[in-house]
C-alpha cells in the first residue's frame, strides 16, 4: 500500500501539478462581489466610496479640515472616469505602489482606532477592477509638502503576485496645491440616481461629517456642493492597543511570535491595553506559566494556557476616550438639513465594549412634518461615519430597530417588523473595530453586546419621541373634544326648543351661551400643527439628492437606450421605446 503512494506518476502527483498557490489578488479577482463589485452600478459607487473614505481618514489623521472633490465623467460605452482629490497630508513615493497596488496592505488593519477604512482592501481592489474592465492603469498624484514637487505614476496590479506594477513615474509641479492626493480611475460602471447611488452616499457622508467640504460633479447635471457645516476639527480618534479579552487564540499566537519582547510579562504589559505589571503577573499565574518565558518560543499548548489565563483574570475595560462620536447636536443638525420634520431628537450612548473593543452607539429620530405618514420608517445606518447603503436585512441595526417596541413611542408596528409611520431613524456605531459581515462593509455583525447597546440608544431616543407624540395626542384629543361643542350643543338647544316651545332666537341664544360657557372652561390649547418654514437648517435641494423617484430613473434609462439605439441608426427601436413609455402613462 505504502508503495503505491510513494510511486511516481500517481493520480495524486498528476493533481499536484495542477494545485498551486493563489494570491489574495487572484482570489478577489474571481470573487469581486465580496468587495462590493457585484455589478457595474455598485462598482462605480464602491470606488468613489473607498477613495472618499480614505481621503477623510487621511485628513483626520493629519488634523486637517477635509476639502474633497469628486468628479465623475461618462466616457460612453459604460465607461466612467472617477477623479477624487483631497487636501490630505499626501503619500510618500515608496508607499504609493503598496497602498494602491496590493490588496490587504494598509495602516489600519493592525491598529485599533476608529477609522473608515479597516482592512486595506478597498482602493486597491478598485484599481484592480479598473485594470480588469478597461485595461487602463490608475493614475495617482501625490504631494507631501508645498515646497516639494508632486509625484505622479500609473499603477496596475499583477494579480499573480499581488504587487503593483508602476509605470510613467514623473515629478510634476502641482501648482496651487500644498499637499494632497489625486486618484484617477477609469472603470466600467453604470451611473444612476436614487437610492443606493453615489449621490446618496455622498449626501449621507456629508450629513454625519459636518466638518467635510465636498464638491461633486456627477456624470450629468450640475455640480453639487456640500459645504462645510461645522468649522470644528474632529477630535482625532486615538489609537489603542488591543484589549486581552478581544484577542482570539490564533491571533494571540501570531502576536507572540511576532513580538520583540524578551519575557512573557513584558509582552503582556506592552502589547495590550489595561495590562499593568501586576495584572501581567496575575495572568501568568492564572495561566501557570513563568513570567520570564520567551514569547517567540512559546508552544501552541502554552499559548492556549495563556489564553485561558487571560479569561480567568479580571481586567479593566478598555479605554473609551479613543472614540470620536458625531455627538447629539450634530446628529440632530444633520437630520434637520436632510428632513423637514416637526420633531427631532438624538442620543449618544456612553461607550461600551464588545470582544475587548470599545464602541459608541448614537441614535437620532426625526418625526412628522413632511415625512410620509404611510409606509415603513426609513433607517439610516452609519458605521464610523460611513453610510451603509446595502444589505439592511443582514444588519444588526435593522434587527435592533425591528426588535424595539415602537408602539409606545407613537409609531405603528406589527410584530417584530420595521415600524411604520412618519419617522426616520438614524443609527451610528463608532468603534475601533467595526464588525462587518463582509469585506464590502455593508452590514454590522450580530454581536449581542452591540445589539443591546443599539436597542438602548433607540429606547432612549424613543422615550424623547414618546413625550412629543403623547403631547401631540393630548392636543389632538382636546381639539376633538372641542369639536363636540360645534357638533352637539346645537342639539341641546334643539331639544330644549321643542320641549319648551322656544323661538328661533331663543334657540340660537342657548347655543351661543353654551358655546361661550364651555369654551371658557377648556382654556388655551397649544398649537402643534406643522410649520414647514420653522426648520431653518432644512435644505430642500439637498434633501432631493439620492431621492429621485424610480419612475424618473426609469425614464433616464429609457432615454439612454433611445440615445444608443438612434446612434446606431435604429429607428424602429426608438419608436418602440417611445411607445412603451407612452403606454406606461
Amino acid at each position: 500500500m505504502v508503495g503505491v503512494y510513494m510511486a511516481k506518476g500517481t493520480k495524486a502527483d498528476e493533481l499536484a501539478k495542477k494545485q498551486k498557490e493563489i494570491s489574495v489578488a487572484e482570489f478577489f479577482e474571481k470573487n469581486r462581489h465580496l468587495l462590493g463589485f457585484d455589478n457595474k452600478r455598485k462598482a462605480l459607487l464602491t470606488t468613489v466610496k473607498e477613495a472618499v473614505d480614505n481621503s477623510i481618514d487621511a485628513c483626520e489623521e493629519a488634523n486637517i479640515l477635509p476639502d474633497i472633490t469628486v468628479h465623475i465623467t461618462d466616457m460612453g460605452d459604460d465607461r466612467f472616469r472617477i477623479i477624487v482629490e483631497d487636501n490630505g497630508p499626501g503619500i510618500v513615493k515608496k508607499q504609493i505602489g503598496k497602498i494602491f497596488g496590493s490588496l490587504l496592505y494598509g495602516s489600519k488593519f493592525h491598529k485599533l482606532s476608529q477609522s473608515r477604512g479597516q482592512q486595506g482592501i478597498g482602493i486597491s481592489a478598485s484599481v484592480m477592477y479598473a485594470n480588469l474592465t478597461t485595461g487602463r492603469a490608475a493614475k495617482i498624484t501625490a504631494k507631501v509638502h508645498k515646497d516639494k514637487p508632486a509625484y505622479t505614476c500609473k499603477i496596475r496590479i499583477d494579480t499573480k503576485i499581488n504587487k503593483a506594477v508602476i509605470s510613467d513615474e514623473k515629478e510634476i509641479s502641482w501648482t496651487g496645491k500644498e499637499h494632497g492626493v489625486k486618484i484617477e480611475i477609469d472603470l466600467e460602471g453604470s451611473y444612476m440616481k436614487g437610492k443606493q447611488s453615489v449621490d446618496e452616499y455622498l449626501k449621507q457622508t456629508a450629513i454625519v461629517n459636518p466638518h467635510l467640504n465636498l464638491i461633486y460633479q456627477p456624470p450629468k447635471g450640475e455640480q453639487i456642493i456640500f459645504p462645510r457645516a461645522s468649522e470644528e476639527k474632529v477630535i482625532m480618534p486615538k489609537e489603542i492597543k488591543p484589549h486581552p479579552y478581544g484577542v482570539e487564540l490564533g491571533m494571540l499566537m501570531k502576536l507572540l511570535h511576532a513580538s520583540d519582547k524578551r519575557t512573557l510579562e513584558a509582552f503582556m504589559k506592552d502589547e495590550f491595553s489595561r495590562v499593568t505589571a501586576p495584572v501581567a503577573k496575575e495572568i501568568c499565574q492564572n495561566a501557570r506559566l513563568p513570567t520570564n518565558l520567551k514569547p517567540q518560543n512559546m508552544t501552541r499548548q502554552q499559548a492556549e494556557d495563556l489564553y485561558k489565563g487571560i479569561q480567568e483574570t479580571k481586567i479593566m475595560a478598555p479605554p473609551t476616550d479613543c472614540l470620536s462620536p458625531i455627538g447629539e447636536s450634530l446628529v440632530e443638525k444633520g437630520m434637520k438639513k436632510e428632513i423637514n420634520a416637526e420633531f427631532y431628537c438624538a442620543t449618544s450612548r456612553r461607550p461600551a465594549v464588545y470582544r475587548g473593543n470599545p464602541f459608541v452607539i448614537e441614535c437620532g429620530i426625526a418625526y412628522g412634518g413632511n415625512i410620509p405618514a404611510e409606509g415603513t420608517v426609513d433607517v439610516l445606518r452609519f458605521a464610523n461615519k460611513v453610510p451603509l447603503q446595502f444589505q439592511p436585512g443582514a444588519c444588526a441595526i435593522t434587527k435592533s430597530v425591528n426588535e424595539t417596541a415602537w408602539k409606545s413611542y407613537g409609531l405603528s408596528q406589527s410584530g417584530s417588523n420595521t415600524p411604520t409611520g412618519p419617522a426616520v431613524v438614524l443609527v451610528h456605531m463608532a468603534s475601533v473595530w467595526v464588525p462587518f459581515t463582509s469585506e464590502a462593509k455593508e452590514a454590522l455583525a450580530h454581536y449581542s453586546e452591540i445589539i443591546k447597546e443599539i436597542k438602548l440608544a433607540i429606547q432612549e431616543a424613543g422615550r424623547k419621541l414618546m413625550r412629543y407624540t403623547a403631547k401631540k395626542r393630548r392636543v389632538k384629543d382636546e381639539l376633538k373634544k372641542r369639536s363636540y361643542i360645534e357638533k352637539y350643543i346645537p342639539y341641546v338647544a334643539k331639544g330644549l326648543k321643542e320641549l319648551l316651545g322656544l323661538t328661533e332666537s331663543q334657540e340660537t341664544g342657548v347655543t351661543k351661551k353654551l358655546q361661550i360657557l364651555l369654551e371658557k372652561k377648556r382654556g388655551e390649547v397649544k398649537d402643534m400643527s406643522f410649520d414647514a418654514s420653522k426648520n431653518v437648517d432644512f435644505d430642500e435641494e439637498f434633501a432631493k439628492i439620492g431621492k429621485e423617484e424610480l419612475e424618473e430613473i426609469q425614464q433616464e434609462i429609457d432615454d439612454e437606450m433611445n440615445g444608443v439605439k438612434s446612434e446606431n441608426g435604429n429607428n424602429n427601436g426608438k419608436k418602440k421605446n417611445g411607445k412603451k413609455r407612452n403606454g406606461k402613462k
Binding site: 361643542i485 352637539y488 341641546v492 331639544g495 330644549l496 341664544g509 351661551k513 364651555l518
Partner: protein
C-alpha cells in the same frame, strides 16, 4: 298616559333652560342604579333606594349624552301626547333623525332611557316606552278582564281555555281586573316545566294559577304577579332551578327588586313571594342528579354573600348559599325526571307545598 310624567319632563327642561340663561352650566341628577344604592326594607319587604345620586353637568364630554337625554325626553312627550307607545328598539330607530346626536347602538338608548326613568322617578311605561321582549305566560284558574283596544269594551279571558297553550302577559297590565278562586300562584322558571304542569292540568289538582317566568321575569310579568297577588290576596310560590341564578337573579328580583331599577322596585316587587325550591337542601334530600358549580356560579354565590342586602337580612339564605358553595353542586328543575317524568308533580311539589319548613324566605 300620565300627565304627571309630561309635566315632569317640562319642569326638567325648564330648569336647564333657566340655568343656561343665567350662564350657569346645567345639570341632570338621577339616583345611582346599583346594589350599592339599595337597602332591604324589612317592613315593606323590598329594596329601597338609599339616596346616592349622580349629577351630570353639561360639559364638552357630556354634551352628546346631554343632547340625547333632552331629545329622548321630547320623543316621550310626543308619545304621551299622542297616547301611543314606543318600544325600546323603536326609540333607538327614532334617534336616527337626530343627525350627529343619534344613538349608535341600542344599549346606548336603553341606558339613556333607564337613566331618564330613574331621574324622573316615573316608570318608563308611563313615559310611553315599552320593552321589546314578551312577558311571561299564564295558565290556570283565573279570568283576566282586559279591554278591547278599538272599542274599549271589557273582554273576559279564561286562563283555563288555552288547552295545551297559555295566555301571554302583555307589556301594560295596569288596567287589568281579575276573577279567581285559586289558592295560590305558582311561578316557574322554565317554560318546559310550565308546559308539563299545563299538559297535566296541575292547576286543577292544586287549584292554582301557573305563571311561566321565562328566566328573569320581565317588568310586565312582575307587575302582573304583584297586582294579581295583592288584589286577590293570593300567596306566591316560586319554583326555580337549584342554582344561584335561580335563587338570586330570578327569585330575589321578583320578590324585592333589583339594584339596576331600584327606583322602580316599589312597583314591581312581590314581597310575599316564598321560595319552595329547588333549595340546596332539596339536592341532598331528594338525591338529585347534579352538575358541579361553574366558576361564574361560585362568583355569583360569593357576591351574594358579600354584597346582597337581601341575603344579609336573611340568615336562612346565607346558610343555604354557604351550604351550596360547600357542596359545589347545582341541580335543575328537570332533574326529578330521573325518577319518573311526573315525579315532580305527584311527589315533589305535593310534599313541598305541604311542608313550609322546607321553604326559604
Amino acid at each position: 298616559m300620565s300627565k304627571a310624567a309630561s309635566d315632569k319632563i317640562k319642569k326638567i327642561a325648564k330648569d336647564i333652560y333657566n340655568d343656561i340663561v343665567k350662564s350657569k352650566q346645567p345639570t341632570l341628577t338621577s339616583p345611582i342604579r346599583s346594589l350599592n344604592n339599595v337597602e332591604y326594607d324589612k317592613k315593606d319587604g323590598y329594596f329601597k333606594v338609599k339616596g346616592l345620586e349622580k349629577t351630570r353637568t353639561l360639559t364638552v364630554s357630556t354634551s352628546k349624552s346631554f343632547a340625547q337625554s333632552l331629545l329622548l325626553m321630547n320623543e316621550s312627550k310626543k308619545v304621551i301626547a299622542a297616547n301611543d307607545i314606543m318600544t325600546k328598539r323603536e326609540a333607538y330607530y327614532v334617534s336616527k333623525n337626530w343627525g350627529d346626536a343619534k344613538f349608535n347602538e341600542q344599549p346606548e338608548s336603553d341606558t339613556c332611557m333607564d337613566d331618564m326613568e330613574a331621574m324622573m322617578g316615573v316608570l318608563r311605561e308611563q313615559l310611553g316606552f315599552i320593552p321589546e321582549e314578551d312577558g311571561g305566560a299564564v295558565s290556570g284558574n283565573l279570568t283576566i278582564i282586559d279591554k278591547d283596544p278599538d272599542t274599549g269594551k271589557e273582554v273576559k279571558i279564561d286562563c283555563t281555555k288555552f288547552a295545551s297553550g297559555a295566555y301571554n302577559i302583555p307589556a301594560d297590565v295596569e288596567e287589568f281586573k281579575f276573577e279567581t278562586k285559586a289558592n295560590f300562584i305558582l311561578a316557574i322558571e322554565t317554560a318546559g316545566m310550565f308546559q308539563r304542569l299545563v299538559k297535566h292540568k296541575y292547576y286543577k289538582k292544586a287549584n292554582c294559577v301557573l305563571v311561566s317566568l321565562k328566566g328573569v321575569p320581565s317588568r310586565a310579568t312582575r307587575r302582573f304577579i304583584k297586582r294579581l297577588s295583592e288584589n286577590k290576596k293570593l300567596p306566591v310560590y316560586v319554583f326555580t332551578d337549584g342554582d344561584f341564578y335561580g335563587h338570586m337573579n330570578i327569585y330575589r328580583t321578583l320578590k324585592v327588586g333589583s339594584g339596576n331599577a331600584a327606583h322602580a322596585n316599589q312597583f314591581f316587587c312581590v314581597p310575599n313571594a316564598k321560595f319552595i325550591g329547588v333549595t340546596p337542601q332539596d339536592i341532598i334530600d331528594y338525591k338529585l342528579p347534579s352538575h358541579p358549580l361553574k366558576d361564574v356560579d361560585v362568583k355569583r354565590g360569593k357576591d351574594a354573600l358579600k354584597n346582597d342586602p337581601f341575603v344579609k337580612a336573611h340568615k336562612e339564605w346565607e346558610k343555604a348559599i354557604r351550604l351550596q358553595l360547600k357542596m359545589g353542586k347545582r341541580a335543575e328543575q328537570q332533574a326529578f325526571a330521573a325518577y319518573d317524568l311526573n315525579y315532580v308533580m305527584n311527589t315533589y311539589l305535593k310534599d313541598k307545598l305541604k311542608n313550609s319548613k322546607t321553604w326559604l324566605p
